[in-house]
């Protein structure tokens, strides 16, 4: 359904978005990031986990572009290998939130009433806590590790999608085509998922793009705190945490993965902006 939506947009609006250099830049960053994530072995010059005691804490050079760490591991290779973990985070920490949020938000938005009231209280309860604190609490209960981190983020994060989806569906309900679907005798399922949802989903998709950038940031934060990915797995947060002790003598250890985080986040944001433009023009 969503796919159809993308393909059926008028051609003119595609062109407008594609002409924006920032969107192209974002797309370029994102495609590069995905390639690095899918095929790290093609791009990384060294094995990310092999110690080399002859090259310890070397500054960036032609041999080791991003320098080496205290065990002689090549930082460039580790940052590249971390792409697969961090891009995976961007996807898995958000995709279940997206799916649950769209589903729940569409239903409570459409039916309202008691379900909506219960949902409203749930939202209130969850958003009054700082997001990170709540996720850390859930991870602390479940134990550290990537899978538990995804579970924790999904438990908390779907609320934001559902809230957005609910508001959009309620906005769309004001249009007569929703009532028209009703008077045509269509089922609620058909009205919600075929008529309302495709019209209401754009802001949610855009939010999803930004949220993927935030998920990388969150995943790295948890990794840094030792609650997400576990060493020796190469993950940007873990890499930054490992470099922390040598920040005065080997600055590249923390800076390089930091730049990777910023760059990837930028890519997602620019693409998100581009998609907003792409989907905005109608008529």
């Amino acid at each position: 359904m969503v796919k159809k939506l993308f393909f059926r947009l008028p051609r003119k609006s595609h062109m407008v978005a594609l002409k924006r250099p920032s969107f192209l830049l974002g797309l370029f960053i994102l495609i590069s990031s995905i390639s690095l994530a899918l095929f790290p072995d093609l791009f990384a010059p060294y094995d990310p986990n092999v110690f080399d005691y002859t090259a310890i804490k070397q500054p960036p050079s032609a041999l080791h572009w991003f320098g080496t760490d205290n065990l002689g591991r090549d930082t460039f290779s580790r940052v590249i290998w971390a792409y697969s973990v961090n891009m995976q985070m961007a996807l898995f920490a958000t995709i279940f939130c997206l799916a649950i949020g769209i589903f729940v938000g569409a239903l409570v938005g459409y039916y309202g009433g008691v379900a909506d009231m219960i949902f409203g209280r749930c939202v209130d309860a969850i958003i009054t806590f700082p997001f990170l604190v709540l996720v850390i609490a859930v991870v602390a209960v479940l134990g550290p590790g990537l899978t538990n981190m995804y579970i924790a983020i999904t438990l908390v994060g779907w609320v934001y999608y559902a809230r957005l989806m609910r508001a959009e569906i309620m906005g769309q309900l004001g249009n007569d085509y929703a009532a028209a679907g009703k008077v045509m005798g269509y089922s609620d399922r058909r009205i919600i998922f075929r008529h309302l949802l495709p019209n209401a989903i754009t802001p949610v998709i855009v939010y999803w793009m930004t949220d993927m950038a935030l998920a990388i940031l969150l995943g790295s934060s948890l990794g840094y705190l030792g609650l997400g990915a576990q060493p020796p797995q190469a993950e940007w947060g873990v890499l930054i945490a490992e470099g922390r002790n040598f920040i005065t003598t080997a600055w590249w250890l923390s800076l390089m993965p930091g730049i990777a985080i910023v760059l990837t986040g930028l890519g997602f944001s620019l693409v998100g902006d581009g998609i907003t433009d792409l989907m905005r023009p109608r008529g």
Binding site: N175, D176, Y177, A180, M184, G185, Y186, N199, R282
Partner: protein
């Protein structure tokens, strides 16, 4: 009341109330009327008089938000108490409805062809090819040129009038016996209004379809309707053939409405307008809802609600402009 047995649709004592902040608002109050097959009935009244809610109550759309009581008899069944799942089979198939805003009543993301065929999928047994042919036929029927090509167009590629035609095409897809039109021409240009009204009227004659046309425009009602019902404060105040009601209005409110239509007046002369505003549903008067604005109100008007009296031409008024025929002659 004259043809309660042969009537296609028979509405008896239909009331719809909404609960707002602990208060019960009666938007439709004991409305009764009959509709014969092929007849065009107009319901006229100001904004907030309960016209649209009446239509939505007939369709079963109001009960999700409020309390609907009374009877809507359709082919021997009472639609008010009919379960939602069964109502779905009637909606769009036997009873169709079109709305005021052609701009927003089509889904902007689907082509009109898809939207017409969707109704056919839901209510007919036609196969894919037959549905395609029927969709072309329908667009032809409502006067959209180059139907085959326009099937693949999106709603935003149509003008307002054309969109209303598309809406009518969708509504007619499964050959309904009754069309409920909720101010179908209000959002359109005057010239387009006439075309759409003529279209609805022609289709009604051609297909033998009954129409309930809700409007606040007396001119529109006069052009199209066989019979008129005037609504005020949720109640029917006058009902009769269009000719009788417009030529010979009995209720003071109908009289006022007719006087507010500027006709043959000199330029720059002040126009007649009814004094006061329609009552809020929050505090409807105890007696006749129109009494506070009525220059001819008698004592009884303030205390009791006047019943609808008469045979052919009915009126709910204690002091009508003239006694209704067959109503014991009190005035």
């Amino acid at each position: 009341m004259t043809q309660s047995n042969s009537a296609l649709l028979s509405v008896k004592n239909l009331s719809t109330s909404f609960h707002v902040g602990g208060q019960k608002l009666r938007a439709v109050d004991e409305v009764s009327f009959d509709l014969a097959a092929g007849e065009v009935l107009g319901i006229v009244g100001e904004s907030g008089s309960g016209k649209s809610i009446t239509l939505r109550s007939i369709m079963g759309l109001a009960r999700r938000y409020g309390e609907v009581t009374g009877e809507v008899m359709w082919q021997g069944e009472n639609l008010v108490t009919k379960p939602e799942a069964q109502m779905r089979k009637i909606r769009g198939k036997d009873i169709a409805m079109i709305f005021q805003e052609p701009m927003s009543s089509l889904n902007p993301l689907l082509t009109v062809g898809v939207q017409i065929k969707e109704n056919l999928v839901a209510h007919t047994e036609l196969d894919k090819k037959a549905r395609h042919l029927r969709a072309i036929e329908l667009l032809d029927l409502v006067g959209i040129p180059d139907a085959l090509r326009r099937l693949n167009d999106y709603p935003h590629q149509f003008s307002g009038g054309m969109r209303q035609r598309v809406m009518i095409a969708i509504a007619l897809a499964s050959s309904p016996k009754l069309l409920l039109a909720d101010e179908p021409t209000t959002a359109l240009d005057v010239t387009i209004q006439n075309q759409i009204l003529k279209l609805i009227l022609d289709l009604s004659h051609e297909l033998g379809m009954s129409v309930i046309l809700v409007t606040h425009d007396l001119g529109v009602a006069a052009q199209t309707c066989d019979r008129l019902a005037v609504m005020y404060g949720g109640k029917l105040v006058e009902k009769g053939s269009t000719r009788d009601v417009l030529r010979n209005p009995l209720h003071r409110y109908t009289m006022g409405l007719l006087q507010s239509v500027p006709e043959n007046v000199e330029p720059r002369t002040p126009l007649f307008s009814l004094p006061g505003t329609p009552p809020s549903l929050m505090n409807l008067p105890k007696g006749c809802a129109f009494a506070p604005r009525c220059a001819h109100a008698v004592d009884a008007c303030v205390e009791t609600k006047p019943p609808l009296e008469g045979t052919q031409h009915q009126v709910a008024c204690f002091n009508p402009t003239q006694p209704p025929v067959g109503a014991g002659g009190q005035s």
